[in-house]
Symmetry: C2
DNA sequence: CAGTATCCTTTACGATACTG
DNA sequence: CAGTATCGTAAAGGATACTG
């Protein structure tokens, strides 16, 4: 059985459900991880690849992911300077854990849409 | 290869990564799903079981989950009225998909904490 | 018991301009 | 190229009071 109930803030920090959620929560974290699947990418390439993320938000998310140990940041001082981001083993591990969920989600999209339409009546 | 880049809003709606994220994102969705794992629960029981969620927020999340087809809501008009929430097959399916991720997250908590401490250091 | 209704704070996200 | 700095908006969450 998975513990979820808490009576204190300290307890919440130890809760695995809450921990994993704080890792995948947010619109961009997992998208960046997925974007780095095949090869390390530079900032500009990452931004173009994702498409609809702004510079400031992308930077912010990259910092979070680096801080938590999911990606690395390598600077090649040019000029021009070139910064490259890559998955760590931990990051690749998270990606592999997410894949079944992503595939499942893709399969069930229509089911959810139907449920929503029925509910909205 | 998982598609993530988009050039339009319509494309973003079809993106599996973004879809699954919108299902599990938020501090409470998955916690409620997990709380319903073993048996249907009434509103009050659910609230006590989770511990640190407010009534209004719990209600809001229950409505979302019901709308998307992950849980059902059954009313037994009393008095006093008793409302029971239960997982649908879809909800149970999502729970099973999340479990490996939850277990993994639990195992890696210390790794992330260490990475964070090193980064902040 | 199981909610609604308000109001407030925090966080995420977004747009734009500027810089070594 | 890869950011930083500012500013503004929007959504999530939280606190509290009230109700059939």
């Amino acid at each position: 059985m998975i513990p979820i109930g808490v009576e204190s803030k300290a307890q919440a920090l130890d809760c695995p459900v809450r921990t994993i959620l704080s890792n995948v929560t947010g619109k961009w974290r997992i998208i960046v991880i997925v974007a780095l699947e095949d090869e390390p990418k530079r900032f500009g390439a990452l931004k173009r690849c994702i498409g609809d993320v702004t510079q400031s938000v992308l930077t912010e998310n990259l910092r979070h992911l680096e801080r938590d140990g999911y990606i690395t940041r390598s600077v090649d001082p040019g000029p021009p300077v070139a910064v490259s981001y890559a998955l760590t083993p931990l990051g690749r591990d998270l990606l592999e854990m997410m894949k079944p969920l992503i595939i499942w989600s893709n399969e069930k999209q229509d089911t959810v849409r139907a449920a929503r339409a029925a509910y909205d009546g």
